[in-house]
């Protein structure tokens, strides 16, 4: 197995820091993702989660620190090459190709992702249909992407990423705006994706999801890593409670 060469590490972030002028969005963050894992990445708004994902996918260059994927340094690699190397992502603020159909949107991922080089346009459309069936959007394949509801658009984001046939998928708040039963469906979807052998880095606000699907969680606050561990353990960590719900609430929790 090639994993042996990586010592069981697929993605390795070491001391990643991103500064925008005087603002430090992400500060000295290190963590690892093993192959086959579902790792949660949580933190309050503005904690630096999306910046971190941007750095991993090449949309933002780390100011310092390194990011390795299967032992390849990603710092200077442009986004399209990272995509072809097998890392896919969704955007928190969805970015559908509005004037293309749902099927065409997904086909672009199939054409240019990790499995795209060997595929013709026609084969990519077939692959896209497969993926749409998997995420449950097949009935809407001929609709324009901008006709989808927000839930549909989130699914479309997911389908585009999956069509790339990634080894590692970064899901940036795919649950935001979903209702109870929809969240359950989406959680099952993430488990199914993982069962296909895809490693998942899940960025999420909804705690239920984190506890439900993640094996391990990394918590960010103000651009720093404040905790790491199993979901239940992390959620009872006073530092994490304080970051999420404020000092006063953390204190009252302790007194109880």
């Amino acid at each position: 197995m090639s994993e042996n060469a990586n010592n069981g590490v697929m993605l390795k972030v070491q001391g990643a820091t991103k500064r925008y002028g005087g603002v430090t969005a992400v500060s000295d963050i290190s963590f690892e993702v093993g192959p086959g894992e579902i790792l949660g990445l949580i933190g309050p708004n503005g904690a630096g989660k999306t910046t971190l994902v941007n750095m991993i996918t090449g949309l933002a260059k780390p100011t310092s620190g390194t990011i390795h994927y299967n032992n390849t340094l990603l710092n200077e690699v442009p986004p399209h090459k990272i995509g072809a190397m097998g890392i896919a992502r969704t955007f928190q603020i969805v970015r559908p190709f509005q004037n293309l159909t749902v099927l065409e949107n997904v086909a672009v991922g199939a054409m240019y992702g990790a499995g795209g080089a060997k595929r013709s346009a026609n084969q990519s459309f077939k692959k896209a249909e497969e993926v749409l069936e998997f995420v449950g959007l097949l009935p809407r394949k001929d609709d324009q992407a901008d006709q989808l509801t927000i839930v549909g658009r989130k699914r479309l984001e997911l389908a585009k990423a999956l069509a790339m046939e990634p080894q590692l998928i970064l899901l940036d708040e795919v649950m935001a705006g979903l209702r109870g039963s929809e969240v359950d469906d989406a959680m099952q979807l993430i488990r199914d994706i993982n069962k296909r052998g895809i490693t998942v880095l899940l960025i999420e606000h909804v705690m239920k999801v984190i506890v439900g699907v993640c094996q391990r969680v990394v918590v960010l606050d103000y651009g720093r890593k404040i905790a790491e561990g199993q979901p239940i353990e992390v959620m009872n960590n006073p530092v994490v409670i304080e970051a999420y719900l404020g000092k006063r609430f953390a204190k009252s929790q302790k007194q109880e």
Binding site: T57, G58, L59, P78, P79, H80, I82, G83, A84, A88, R89, F91, R95, P96, F97, Q98, N99, L100, E104, A107, V108, G109, M111, Y112, G113, A114, G116, S120, A121, S124, K160, M164
Partner: protein, 376 residues
């Protein structure tokens, strides 16, 4: 037969060919278009006014690749139009015109004199090469910044050309390119009629090939890569589309087509000079965009439909003064033209092709709906 009738037939047939509801009807439209293209020069009242239709059409199809498919609104296509014109004359028939009035009597005929097909290939290659050099920095800009940069390139191009002097020995140069001199083209055929027929078919065939090229691109991975860049460049990159490579390729392709269009224009007018009234008319940059807007930007058939509509409007405006027996109307030509363009863009922003939607046949609904929504 009146050109107006031929052009109107072009509009109808290209609309019929573009609709996807009825395949047989589409093929019939295609056949009709072919017939129209072949028959036109023999039945027309004026061949000379038919050729510019294809020249603008070719350049508009070029613009559609970068502006329509890729979403980069290039505003200076005349730069490549002029380069192509220069290239074909330079390589195909580079005569050095008299340098001074005194030497008018003896035109120094030092032609490069390459065969015309090769000269035309140069008319595609040279603009393509320059587009690559310009595109690498300029395509880093987006939106109106990109538009302004390309406009700047177009304004600079004739200045650059006019400052390129003579190549070779100073007394007896191989050839000269210059504002003062310009270049003269040797006509294709002995008689004017034969010349026009050859140019007509050359332009028409190239335009048919260019539309076929658009169709091919729009159904291939390359085309979908361009569409993705147009819709959201960052998201396209994350999906694995090499945006830098693709948009440069699109820009280069557009420049090559525009260059060939310019080359045909150079053959029509038999000379080129880096001036507004010769080949570097900035309206050309605008016209290619207007054609695409009229027909339908970013579609396969849009530029062709737009080409015919554009020609139709111009032809009507040309004839207005004589119809109404009022020469003063000629001065209003550009005003009326501008007004029509504004109204079309306002009420049919996706072009006339919108009227033959994918699902149904011909429908005015989109048009009337747009009017209703805009009138409030």
């Amino acid at each position: 037969m009146s050109n107006l009738v031929l052009i109107a037939a072009g509009i109808v047939l290209s609309l019929v060919a573009s609709q996807r509801k009825n395949r047989t009807l589409g093929l019939a439209g295609l056949a009709g278009l072919g017939l129209l293209l072949i028959a036109s020069p023999f039945v027309t009242e004026n061949k000379a006014t038919l050729i510019p239709i294809y020249i603008f059409g070719l350049a508009a199809i070029g613009w559609n690749i970068i502006g329509g498919f890729t979403g980069y609104a290039a505003f200076g296509q005349v730069a490549f139009y002029g380069l192509g014109a220069y290239a074909v004359v330079l390589f195909g028939s580079a005569r050095r015109p008299p340098l001074s009035a005194a030497s008018t009597a003896s035109i120094n005929d030092q032609t490069l004199g390459w065969p015309l097909p090769i000269a035309f290939i140069m008319a595609a290659l040279i603009p393509a090469l320059i587009a690559l050099i310009i595109g690498l920095p300029v395509l880093r800009l987006k939106g109106h910044y990109f538009a302004i940069a390309t406009l700047g390139v177009a304004l600079a191009m004739p200045q650059v050309l006019s400052n390129i002097g003579c190549v070779g020995d100073e007394r007896n140069p191989t050839f000269c390119v210059g504002l003062g001199t310009g270049l003269v083209m040797r006509p294709l055929a002995q008689d004017k009629e034969g010349n026009l027929i050859q140019l007509y078919f050359f332009g028409a065939i190239l335009m048919v090939l260019a539309v076929a090229g658009l169709w091919f691109i729009s159904r291939n991975k390359f085309g979908y890569g361009l569409f993705a860049i147009r819709e959201n460049e960052e998201a396209a990159g994350v999906l694995g589309v090499n945006a830098t490579l693709f948009k440069n390729a699109a820009f280069v392709l557009a420049a090559a087509l525009t260059g060939v269009a310019g080359a045909i224009q150079a053959m029509v007018q038999n000379s080129v000079a880096p001036t507004e009234d010769s080949i570097f008319n900035n309206s050309t940059s605008l016209y290619v965009i207007v054609i695409c807007l009229l027909g339908g930007t970013g579609t396969v058939w849009g530029p062709l439909i737009g080409t015919f509509i554009f020609a139709f409007i111009r032809e009507v405006l040309e004839k207005l003064p004589s119809w109404f027996n009022n020469p003063g109307l000629l001065e209003w030509r550009d005003v009326i033209f501008g007004l029509i363009v504004v109204l079309m863009v306002l009420f049919l922003p996706k072009g006339v092709i919108q009227l033959v939607s994918n699902k149904g046949g011909f429908t005015w609904r989109i048009f009337t709906r747009n009017i209703r929504e805009n009138s409030i």
